[in-house]
Symmetry: C2
Amino acid sequence: MLVTLREHPADADIISHQLLVRGGFIKRVTSGIYAYMPLMWRVLQKITHIIQEELNAKGCLETLLPQLHPAELWKQTGRWQGYTKGEGIMFNLKDRQGRELGLGPTHEEVITRIAGESIKSYKQLPVNIYQIQTKFRDEIRPRFGLMRSREFIMKDAYSFHSSEADLQSTYIEMNDAYEQIFTRCGIDTVKVDADSGAIGGAASQEFMVTADAGEDLILISSDGKYSANQEKADSIAKEGKELKEGSPEIIETKGQNTIELLCRDKFFEPDQVVKVILILAILEDGSKQPILASIRGDQELNEVKLLNCISKQVKQNVISIKPISKEDLKDVPFGSIGPDLEDSFLNEVSKWSQKFIRLTDRTAADLKLFICGSNKPDFHRIFFNWSMIGGPHQIVDIRKAQPGDLCIHDQEQTLIEKRGIEVGHIFQLGKKYSLALGASFTNEHGSQEPFWMGCYGIGVSRLAQAAVEQSHDESGIIWPINISPFQVIIVIANVEEETQRILGEKIYKDLQDKGLEVLIDDRKERAGVKFKDADLIGIPWRIVVGRDSSSGKVELIKRSNRSTTLLSCESATKMLLAEIFN
Amino acid sequence: MLVTLREHPADADIISHQLLVRGGFIKRVTSGIYAYMPLMWRVLQKITHIIQEELNAKGCLETLLPQLHPAELWKQTGRWQGYTKGEGIMFNLKDRQGRELGLGPTHEEVITRIAGESIKSYKQLPVNIYQIQTKFRDEIRPRFGLMRSREFIMKDAYSFHSSEADLQSTYIEMNDAYEQIFTRCGIDTVKVDADSGAIGGAASQEFMVTADAGEDLILISSDGKYSANQEKADSIAKEGKELKEGSPEIIETKGQNTIELLCRDKFFEPDQVVKVILILAILEDGSKQPILASIRGDQELNEVKLLNCISKQVKQNVISIKPISKEDLKDVPFGSIGPDLEDSFLNEVSKWSQKFIRLTDRTAADLKLFICGSNKPDFHRIFFNWSMIGGPHQIVDIRKAQPGDLCIHDQEQTLIEKRGIEVGHIFQLGKKYSLALGASFTNEHGSQEPFWMGCYGIGVSRLAQAAVEQSHDESGIIWPINISPFQVIIVIANVEEETQRILGEKIYKDLQDKGLEVLIDDRKERAGVKFKDADLIGIPWRIVVGRDSSSGKVELIKRSNRSTTLLSCESATKMLLAEIFN
């Protein structure tokens, strides 16, 4: 069932998505939901087998966990709210008994419960369990085909340990397995420090396929020693232009309610200003906490860092954050707010907490003299310092690292920007889930202890598409040989010619007998159409059985560089075997 | 992670369920939802590979279709209502955009849509596409472990054809493949005629594993030539005792409002009575249609036949049927109803159709003289015939075949009852789905024609449990070798003894090198515990490395018959290879 399309699909914004649709690899069923057609399924099976081999070699055990999860489990870890309300990426439903179930986007809860019930003693540890399975996420904006789809195939593994040291050693093992897996799949990845997000835990790293179409921004030091997802990246902002001494005063700044306008009209630099941002955090217990964040005027807030920071302050999960605006608080002088804006402004909304959590980013805290709002409309303070306004308050890192920033490990190095597609993620979870679910084992001293846990994901379907994003040309896909649906395609130029047909079928049989995976195109189409299709679907090697078949000769073509050799079919077979099994 | 349980799990009613739980093969996560643990996953993978090999050999193409289905698709085939309301076995939800989605219990809609979009010409036909995937059913009463669970693994295949003859030939091919699959899986199956139910279509057959715990009742002729699911079975009811001539009269029958009481007090036989049953059918368009069904007093209604029969009458799907009772219709003289009960009784409920559909089962129609209700409370008519009451109305087969009935193909044969577990089902669907979804191809004459379709299911996870139900003893499971999680288990009786440990590990390595799948039990447990566990988990071959290991000897034990041989480890290896690879 080789069905290809001529036109670019209208809804496909990036090349890999276009090529997979045009090549008949995937079919859209509804928004963000695709069928994997036979060619694609072969690719996915190849990736699956590579993963299985590498993980089994590390002693991981394969399993299959349910996709429907009882809400109770997720409530025990405090994630039900966040996953079904807040971001709300977990599809959920009620069964005929009215019991709530979620469609698993990840399986920490389920596997931790099972491990807690099954593993009794440290003697049974460590255990590393994995599955390869369709997962679900009700994405706000599904897009880019399999890159951000609502149903996707994941490999997720969960490890259980009696000590943190043991967890760390498995974490390193899994890192090695991942490098092995991605290398065998024929994709280039970069490893970056990552935020653990809603999963929680200590260390975590992502494996990124670098590609312009990547949704993640990653920052890499010029010496290559540091790399991180922008969400997570730490860096040192370039020093600003220090404000020259001057006597503190309050100036009128009518119509200058953005830093840009203020600087333009008053000849300041943004890095001399303290920018103040009001944010409302919705907490898991339903309460609403206003945040007052101060940061240097040329810097941007990192929402992930901010959310983690608030979460730590309030000692519970933050469901979501959103800017506070004029509609929320009428009396606040937006555009002229200072870090010392009084809590009494919160009186307007009695349902909120009546006290700001005040956070000051290091970039703002480090300013000796600065400009900031005066808390009166259309007036700013200039040449002020922190002691004059009772600050700085808690000094934290809530700043978004930027390309060009100085590196922490070496201030001679700067950060360079790349875009990446996340294909793998490894986490040291620690005891978060085992504690929440009471999953424990008997340790060497005979007492109960919660498991140390790690978790390790690979986006299998996303990886397949990322490989295409990384490996294609203007005519179509160029599959890396190890994950190609077939290794060889035989194109019979003209099936009406018996000589061609017979020779083509002979080679087809020969190659299969030799253990190669071969596709034969014996459709009654023009040769040109078949060549175009072969280019599009990207099988690495092509044998064309055409006019020269009368003298037993065929063309062997390498898809990647189009190198073409005319040779006897015996030599072609020999050469292929040598190339593929080297 | 070999974790076994001593106690029988409280919620496991049948032996296979008990053994799978006790052996650590499955873990319950919530009602009707199980995790497949590593040992079980190996079994399921074995079955999967057998299915893949047999289907690929028939030219089937593997694929993976989405689990979330847009409601629109199911509305087009008219199944959304029935699957989400009525029986309501399809889990369903709304996404963040408020669009309705169902969790696929079956995939006719999705694959027909895709085929319609992909296959343009008869030249591309036939195509047979399959997938092996977790399916969902919100069962009213999940039970028996994997037998009737809410998440289960299915292999479903769908074939597309340009003619009915081609469909029929693939149907036969699939039948052969199924027999091959079940034989290779080591299970005994019986093939029976089946109802096509909500799936629809012409011919359909089920493959049943016979077992006392089976949920299906199957009827097999004594010569073995006929076998059918009771839902579907046709047969000839034994003739009743004819009512001797007498003059028609109406008799008082106070307190005799059941056939049993009536016959006891008046010395009639149940097979001389016409039993009348009122049923309400809820139709897909929301309307409610009352049914008046007449059947011979000793016979029972077959609800499946009845539902199909009504569906044909009203030319739409029937969502559900339920008995009409006194609460529904106060004035109806329940216990004394005759086949000619007037439609005017329906006036009571204006929302229902005001006319009965009257159906008469052949057994009742064939009665020359009979007793029946008089439509007045506590009065029956005796010695009446059909012409006296304006009947019989439409004569149909809505009767439940029973063990002891005469066979249609040979009235010398009678039906015998067995219980079965459905593990496979093949259907000739015809054009039902292609018509509903407008999925068509260009035929040889250049005109558009809807596909002829077949569909073919195997319950993969159910099959695994059915194998256990069929193959176990008092000590545990006896896996058929081809689907056993491992082929051999090596039990080191005492791991503290170095000789034993070294020899055990040597054999372990040897056997693996020879291509066998080997599990080694080197736990620091008493030998007895390990033997019990080995019995329980049911690996077909066991090598015990015990006291005789000092002379290089081990015990080779066959799980099924416990035959034990003491022999050198070389001979043991040789014998195993011969037995397993014969």
